[in-house]
């Protein structure tokens, strides 16, 4: 039935204007749909790639993020003795006790205050995060008021250039290095000696501990030890999972907002397609009558019109996806509502999003074309022919 498909396609081409308008409407909706998914995907990828699969993060039970977590020194000591923890070439455990504190600092350009994450780091903290590269300066000396800052912090915040002094927690901190972690969350953090930070901020407990597994398979064992041992009783998560959870709330928020927006828009686009297809059916009454007279079955007529509106959807979908793919060049900087820190990420197009967007477009075309196609196929042959 290639000719029938050709027939549908040529009809779309024949009424260029309405086809263009209808597909543009659909393209716009697909664009919104796709970009929302891309935003949420970009966020997720940024946060997930912040984590290492073989790293385990230990936090207080029920606290999703380390800002709200507390790990007592006693418990940290117990965890450090676990035999499943990897050991580096110098015989040291790849284990770090960390503290997370949120502070507010003015942005360089606008002077408006924004949240920043301060991470008190241990000797092995940098080693545990291979994505983190020092791009300027050196690592901080432990025991001194020295910090290294993430690239975005250095770019955006007052007094965060190499050699500058940052003032917080009633102390001056010398910026001795700048690090880059790609587009990962760490780029919006300031790192310094965990003991200095705890003293400065008057924190008696760590926020979290992190360690590398000797063997990835040991995770379940370690997890049950940490969670079941009454002396520890903390929560252990793979670092990837930990960051994925962090992205979930924001992803969900974006998705719900975006999808309710697209639902409203899509109703418009579906109605647009419906009007287009109804007028196509009305304009081609005698054509439909002729096809039926020649012996084409109702279902062929139904199929031809349905295919036509499906094509509208497909074209709209392709245009929408192409449009949305350009947003990949945009970088978004926003607040991570869970840690209240700055977060930088970009729209990320994945195959899954392309497929979902195309299905959505096809769905709009089909829904819009359904009734008109049914009407077309049910037309009485004789009265259709008389309408010539």
């Amino acid at each position: 039935m290639k000719l029938i498909l050709l027939y549908s396609l040529r009809n779309l081409i024949a009424r260029r204007l309405t086809t263009t308008l209808t597909t543009c409407g659909m393209a716009l909706v697909v664009f919104v749909f796709a970009t929302v998914l891309m935003l949420s995907e970009g966020l997720k990828q940024t946060l997930v790639s912040t984590g290492e699969y073989n790293n385990v993060v230990v936090i207080r039970k029920g606290s999703n993020v380390d800002v709200q977590s507390a790990v007592e020194k006693q418990k940290a000591l117990l965890i450090e003795t676990l035999p499943e923890i990897a050991i580096d070439e110098d015989g040291n455990r790849l284990f770090a006790k960390e503290v997370i504190v949120l502070i507010v600092m003015p942005k360089r350009e606008t002077k408006s205050p924004a949240n920043i994450v301060i991470r008190g780091i241990d000797e092995k903290s940098v080693r545990l995060r291979p994505q983190v590269r020092l791009i300027e300066g050196r690592l901080p000396n432990f025991g001194l008021n020295e910090v290294i800052v993430g690239k975005s912090i250095s770019e955006r915040f007052e007094g965060a250039l190499l050699g500058d002094k940052l003032r917080f927690a009633m102390r001056d901190w010398t910026v001795v290095g700048i690090f880059d972690a790609g587009n990962r969350g760490y780029n919006s953090e300031i790192w310094g000696d965990v003991n200095q930070m705890m003293q400065a901020f008057k924190r008696p407990v760590y926020s979290s501990v992190i360690f590398r597994l000797k063997d990835s398979k040991d995770f379940d064992v370690v997890k049950s030890k940490i969670e079941k041992d009454p002396r520890i009783s903390l929560e252990a998560k793979r670092e990837t999972r930990y960051y994925e959870e962090q992205s979930e709330m924001m992803s969900k928020f974006l998705k719900i907002l975006g999808l309710s927006l697209t639902t409203i828009f899509s109703i418009g686009a579906i109605i647009g397609a419906m009007i287009t297809m109804y007028s196509a059916v009305a304009n081609r009454q005698s054509e439909i009558g002729t096809l039926r007279a020649l012996g084409f079955q109702k279902r062929t007529v139904l199929g031809a019109f349905l295919f036509e509106s499906l094509l509208l959807g497909v074209i709209g979908g392709i245009i929408g996806i192409i449009m949305s793919s350009f947003t990949q060049y945009i970088t978004i900087s926003t607040m991570n509502w869970q840690t209240f820190s700055q977060l930088t990420f970009s729209f990320t197009l994945s195959l899954e999003i392309v497929i979902q967007s195309m299905l959505f477009a096809v769905f709009m075309g089909l829904i819009g074309g359904m009734l008109p196609a049914i009407v077309a196929s049910r037309k009485n042959i004789v009265s259709s022919l008389r309408s010539a």
């Binding site: 000719l3 050709l6 009809n11 005698s286 054509e287 007279a293 020649l294 012996g295 109702k298 022919l385």
Partner: protein, 232 residues
């Protein structure tokens, strides 16, 4: 004596207009023999198109039977009837009814899509049908790019391409100038003479009707062998 290809027995047809019932065909019985060229004449609104549609199986009578080549088409279901039309009936309309977005070739090929023919076989059939109507030089033209007469010839090619048992034509020259009308009528005469096609043609053009072997007159839903007195 030739066999009747179409046998019409006591058919009637009425249309519903609101609460009113408009009788269009009253108890008509007649046969059309194989190879006939029948012309149906009568004033406007006398039921010519309705009768033709009933014979062609795109409309159903309220009573009576229509038997075409041994098949009682009034008993067929809608989809059976569709299949039957595709094989047995060639249609020629007053306004040609070509599909605007398809070329002459594709328009003629259209009814063959319902046959089991292969692509190359279809091509052969289309080419020979277009040769009969002398339009081989226009196969890639869209209907818009053809004159009325040429469009009607494409429509004739489409009507004969499946080699149907009967060809029905509703005022085939009604929209044509004299010259084109003559061409079309010549063609139809040739189909009847040379190819032995049974043709049923509705017309109110006397010149057209004269080409037919048999002329029947419809008047207010009744079929006569001679024109009613009121008819001019």
């Amino acid at each position: 004596m030739k066999e009747p290809v179409v046998s019409i027995k006591n058919i009637c047809k009425a249309y519903q207009k609101g609460s009113e019932t408009i009788p269009v065909i009253h108890d008509i019985t007649f046969d059309i023999i194989d190879g006939d060229f029948l012309s149906l004449m009568g004033p406007s609104g006398s039921g010519k198109t309705t009768l033709l549609n009933l014979i062609a199986g795109i409309d159903k009578p309220d009573c009576g039977e229509i038997i075409v080549s041994g098949i009682n088409i009034t008993r067929l279901s809608e989809s059976e009837l569709s299949r039957w039309r595709a094989i047995n009936v060639g249609f020629i309309f007053q306004f040609y009814n070509l599909i605007p977005v398809l070329t002459a070739f594709e328009n003629v090929e259209l009814p063959l899509l319902l046959s089991p023919l292969s692509k190359s076989q279809r091509r052969e059939h289309v080419i020979s049908a277009l040769r009969v109507v002398d339009l081989l030089d226009r196969i890639d033209h869209k209907p818009k790019e053809l004159s009325g007469g040429q469009q009607q010839r494409v429509a004739i090619a489409r009507a004969i391409v499946t080699d149907p048992a009967i060809i029905v034509a509703d005022e085939p020259t009604g929209d044509l100038d004299r010259k084109s009308a003559t061409d079309v009528l010549n063609l139809m005469t040739r189909l009847n003479d040379e190819f032995g096609k049974t043709i049923i043609m509705v017309t109110h053009d006397m010149r057209a009707a004269k080409r037919a072997k048999t002329i029947k007159y419809l008047d207010k839903g009744y079929l006569n062998d001679s024109p009613a007195n009121t008819d001019l």
